[in-house]
Symmetry: C2
Subunit: 329 residues, 2 copies
């Protein structure tokens, strides 16, 4: 177990694997046309495990059809409306809707509402370097009201330097994975609904993505993971977290982001009548925990009455789950 | 100027015109099928000036085509997707999109996302009594995961007792007013964009609705209005307000609501990189203030650099505006 005795880093990306918070609208920004790329995690801050970027832009801002040979890309819409253009169809995503784009699948996008914002997770790529190459450093988190002229992409340069090929044809038979908000492989633990919107199978164990919603509740037991890193993005409501050796209290409101590398002691509690957070867990190995503690669930929102937890099943299988409980007394 | 020396009332509706706050998910709830009606203001709490209700529901929940003879109805989508069915077309509204339904215009709705939530303003009606008649008291703010059987509407009873006629034909030539998020009659004051999404002309001076967005900024000057009541609904970010004689500090996060009747001293400040609040002002008389202090604005989001305010023009016209400044020293 690592020991972090200092205050949690805030609104700054570290160059070693330590916990940190980026508040909504803070962070490093790059602009290209009327799209602002904000870095919540980079390969440097995660030790090449993954990158997390939000993109905020104006209606009609777009990115042309392309594919990545190696890189997985997850996109969750947090504001506005995004059209994802695939080889043979267009998917329209609203706030809370999610897609996983596997390597080899051609995709482009266009924003369909005046203020559209997406949260992207990429694994096995170097997308933040590409955004720095494409864009200019920028001191705002929001796209500008207007620009004087549009920039085009230096496609050949990009193809040479980054894992990107501009094409509207797929190089594999991989399919897009699409979950509307509330849907997924749903598991209930007590009063919390976990929508597994990316499972280990979907990414060959590279990562999982879990959307968790619930009512005002109790804090979960303080714990840490030896092998996997977690990030928490508050989507709705209010999430109070306790992080690190000294249980530093952190409150996440919508758009706030916490990075908790393996070894970080943490706990959370939902403090609003409806809270929802999006978790990225890398590598993908913690899925059995949700299925052990909880039960499959056929509905798209949490129930009024909490259901029992299979806590004894977790204890019985604790050696196979990447989970260490911490007692604070 | 009225004097309110007590703590601001919280999560409870008063029976006299005093300031109060309803936090997101709090308030009185009624359920009908999988729709939850939450009362933020009732005729009793506003002295018959207006009513404010949020409706949260599951995908495919709907309300059949109907019209109101006298009542104006404003609907702003705060979560999910809502289809509004008109005599000859269907409008699809996403988060932030708004319609004004004038008296005599037939309309119905259906929810298109698993968690859809709308904010409704009604003037000259008794809609909260109707929702109490239709629904059952309920102790949650969120719709249930499932219900055992669907309820139908007692249409004849409703038509007898309330201002509602079930029909898919309009009784007047009135048209729906529709503004996508970010659009409206846009006015810039300094660094804040006010989208006038309902003007005095739209409602024969009954009310106006103003959507205001801005960056982290300064507090506006403390003031009160002698003639009109304001309500503030935080849509995005963080809004700190100071309310009443003793400048009680109140922080509004998304979904929180403040009612400030005429005479209530108040001020606000935007504290997030992107904040947005929706204001209902009743009666409709304060529109000239925005046009006096600000300038027409052609864009859908606030600029990076604040523009000058026409403050001297406000001072020169102060007698014609319902505005009294308060100095706290």
């Amino acid at each position: 177990m690592r020991r972090f005795n200092l205050d949690i880093l805030r609104n700054e990306l570290p160059t070693t694997k330590i916990p940190y918070i980026i508040e909504n609208g803070s962070g490093e920004h790059f602009i290209w046309n009327r799209q602002v790329f904000t870095f919540l995690s980079t390969n440097k801050s995660t030790g090449n495990m993954f990158e997390v970027v939000t993109i905020t832009g104006e209606k009609n801002e777009c990115f042309p059809a392309h594919l990545h040979e190696k890189m997985y890309e997850s996109i969750l819409v947090t504001e506005g409306v995004l059209d994802i253009h695939l080889e043979n169809k267009t998917l329209t995503l609203n706030r809370g809707d999610y897609v996983l784009i596997p390597p080899g699948l051609s995709h482009g996008y266009s924003m369909q509402a005046h203020r559209t914002k997406i949260l992207t997770y990429t694994i096995d790529g170097n997308i933040t370097e590409m955004y720095q190459f494409i864009g200019q450093q920028y001191s705002h988190s929001k796209h500008p009201a207007y620009i004087s002229r549009a920039e085009t992409l230096a496609k050949l340069d990009l193809e040479t330097q980054f894992d990107i090929k501009f094409t509207d044809k797929n190089s594999t038979d991989s399919k897009i994975l699409y979950w509307p908000s509330g849907e997924g492989d749903n598991v209930l633990t007590g009063d919390q609904l976990h929508s597994l919107i990316t499972t280990q199978k979907d990414t060959e164990d590279n990562y999982i993505v879990v959307s968790t919603e619930g009512p005002i509740g109790d804090a979960i037991v303080s714990h840490y993971h030896e092998k996997h890193t977690e990030t928490f993005y508050c989507f709705d409501g209010k999430v109070t977290m306790w992080v690190g050796e000294q249980s530093q209290e952190i409150v996440l409101y919508p758009g706030d982001f916490l990075h908790a590398p393996a070894g970080t002691i943490h706990s959370y509690r939902f403090d609003a009548h409806y809270s929802k957070m999006i978790g990225l867990l890398v590598p993908g190995l913690f899925e059995p925990f949700f299925r052990t503690l909880g039960e499959p669930y056929d509905f798209t929102t949490f129930p009024n009455e909490p259901q029992p937890l299979n806590f004894e099943k977790v204890i019985a299988n604790i050696d196979t789950l990447d989970l260490k409980f911490v007692s604070h007394d």
